[in-house]
């Protein structure tokens, strides 16, 4: 009957006997997990900022001349509950245009007050670009609406930017994981090679491949968990040190909290991923060694 505690003890003893190898493997996973976590935190933070920033868009519902502004406003309020809705008559629209032209406002002299169409403006806050898009589509049903300008082109650019950022992030994470797995695999491979005499004797006295491999797998798992756990703590430390400074100096990130940048889920995935990476890397290393070993 093989007891897990036996293998954990053997793995711990092996790690204590070869502290340099343990340090290198743990350090490699730490570095990879830290860089991965830092990138994920930055990506998450940017997404949060962009979503909040991008959410503050103005959707203009242009109405036909003579349309009932009050009815249109009421309909818009019903379609966009919780968002500020403002009616802009033709004269008010012209006045805004004059104001925006400043010294060139004289160019509008002679233009009639009812030249510009009346409109309903909906200020959208706290919505992702896709949600703002959907709201704009719903606002087309406002009575008298002839056109809806939701800043679609800008929103689309924002969506493309976010999509590329995510794809780049996934590619970078995959490359990091692969590089880390190769590095850890080689480090553990060296550790296994250094203990080839022990493995030979274990096989000589009747150890199965599983028995030989188990301590190495636990070693990889423990080193992965330790490295990634330390990386998670380091990331929290970086946020604790830099978060307040960033929030006080950069208006865009002023509302970001720890849970926006380093949510518990991300930290849990990071630690579990580090453990999994250590386990898989040691599995490949020990399997490769056992295939080559004469047995």
């Amino acid at each position: 009957m093989i007891r897990p505690a036996y293998f954990v003890r053997k793995a711990s003893e092996a790690m204590a006997r070869a502290p340099f190898v343990t340090l290198v493997a743990t350090g490699t996973i730490f570095a990879a997990a830290f860089v991965t976590g830092l990138f994920a935190a930055c990506l998450g933070g940017v997404e949060q900022v962009v979503n909040r920033w991008g959410g503050e868009v103005q959707i203009s519902v242009y109405l036909a001349p003579g349309a009932d502004l009050s009815a249109a406003q009421a309909a818009a309020r019903g379609l966009a509950p919780g968002h500020p809705v403002e009616e802009v008559g033709s004269a008010a629209a012209l006045a805004r245009l004059r104001a925006s032209l400043g010294a060139e406002a004289a160019a509008l002299d002679g233009v009639r007050d009812d030249t510009l169409p009346p409109s309903i403006e909906v200020r959208v806050r706290g919505l992702a670009p896709a949600e703002a898009h959907a709201l704009a589509a719903r606002l087309r049903s406002v009575p008298g609406a002839t056109d809806v300008d939701d800043g679609g082109a800008w929103l689309e650019r924002l969506e493309i930017f976010l999509r590329r950022l995510r794809i780049g992030g996934v590619a970078l994470l995959a490359a990091l994981c692969l590089a880390t797995a190769v590095l850890i695999g080689n480090t553990l491979g060296l550790a296994i090679y250094a203990r080839r005499d022990e493995i030979e004797i274990m096989q000589l006295v009747g150890a199965t491949d599983r028995f030989v491999a188990a301590p190495f797998l636990i070693e990889g798992l423990l080193e992965g968990l330790a490295g990634a756990g330390l990386a998670a703590l380091a990331l929290l430390g970086v946020w604790a040190a830099l978060g307040p400074v960033l929030r006080s100096h950069v208006e865009l990130v002023a509302q970001l909290g720890r849970s926006d940048v380093l949510p518990d889920r991300l930290l849990a995935i990071l630690v579990a991923g580090g453990g999994g990476l250590g386990l898989v890397a040691s599995l490949f290393s020990v399997a490769r060694f056992l295939r080559r070993a004469p047995g």
Binding site: I2, E200, M202, L204, V205, G206, T208, F211, P294, G295
Partner: protein
């Protein structure tokens, strides 16, 4: 216990290490395997404990044909075989007790049972006072006794010894041979590979002589071995 029928072992690019070896070693027998260096003694032992497969022929150990044994079954066969080497094969960074405990841990015995059997076995080889010593702090004879203790701690049915006294002086050689004889007296089959004619002369046991991979004589004493061409 061991039955070899026309066993061949060939290595690519080299001649046959074993050629048409046929022999039987009975249960509880003590036999020497002798011959000059390169005769195939170690190769035959490796085939018996499944370190290498035979190229041709049938080799039965405990009635199982090891020429056709599945790799996953090899460890379980080895748990019934103790092996002793000329270079001891002890782990220098483990204590004497830890070295001897290996075969028991592999079988998953409880720590208390492992301790009891390790102490008992080391007592039988006269080293129970060296439990916590490291192998390199012991003499060559003591290290070989630790290796024998490791080979015997599981009470194996078969004990293979490859030049077990090759690195030892005459007094230590006698100590080691006494331990092997004691194991044989308890019912363990013992097969000792050696080219030490002094051993063959002192212990009147069955002698199987190999030359260039072939069995050239198989008899009851050194006289038979010495009569070979």
């Amino acid at each position: 216990m061991i039955q070899a029928f026309h066993v061949f072992k060939e290595y690519p690019g080299e001649g046959a290490a074993l050629a048409d070896v046929t022999l039987h070693v009975e249960k509880a027998e003590f036999a020497f395997l002798t011959g000059p260096s390169g005769a195939g003694k170690s190769t035959l032992l490796k085939l018996v404990f499944c370190a290498e497969p035979a190229s041709h022929g049938q080799l039965l150990v405990f009635g199982r044909n090891v020429a056709k044994i599945r790799p996953s079954s090899v460890p379980f066969l080895r748990r019934n075989i103790g092996v002793v080497f000329q270079d001891f094969k002890l782990l220098p960074d483990r204590t004497v007790a830890e070295n001897v405990a290996f075969p028991l841990e592999v079988r998953g015995l409880r720590a208390a049972e492992v301790r009891r059997r390790v102490t008992s076995t080391l007592r039988s080889v006269g080293l129970d006072h060296k439990l916590t010593k490291f192998p390199l702090s012991l003499s060559g004879g003591e290290q070989q006794r630790v290796a024998i203790a490791r080979a015997l701690v599981n009470d194996p049915a078969l004990l293979l010894a490859d030049e077990p006294t090759g690195n030892l002086d005459p007094d230590r050689t006698l100590e080691v041979m006494e331990l092997l004889q004691a194991a044989n007296a308890r019912g363990t089959t013992v097969l000792v590979a050696t080219h030490d004619r002094g051993l063959l002369e002192r212990y009147q046991k069955r002698v199987i002589t190999l030359e260039a991979g072939r069995v050239v004589s198989d008899g009851d004493s050194i006289r038979r071995a010495g009569a070979s061409p």
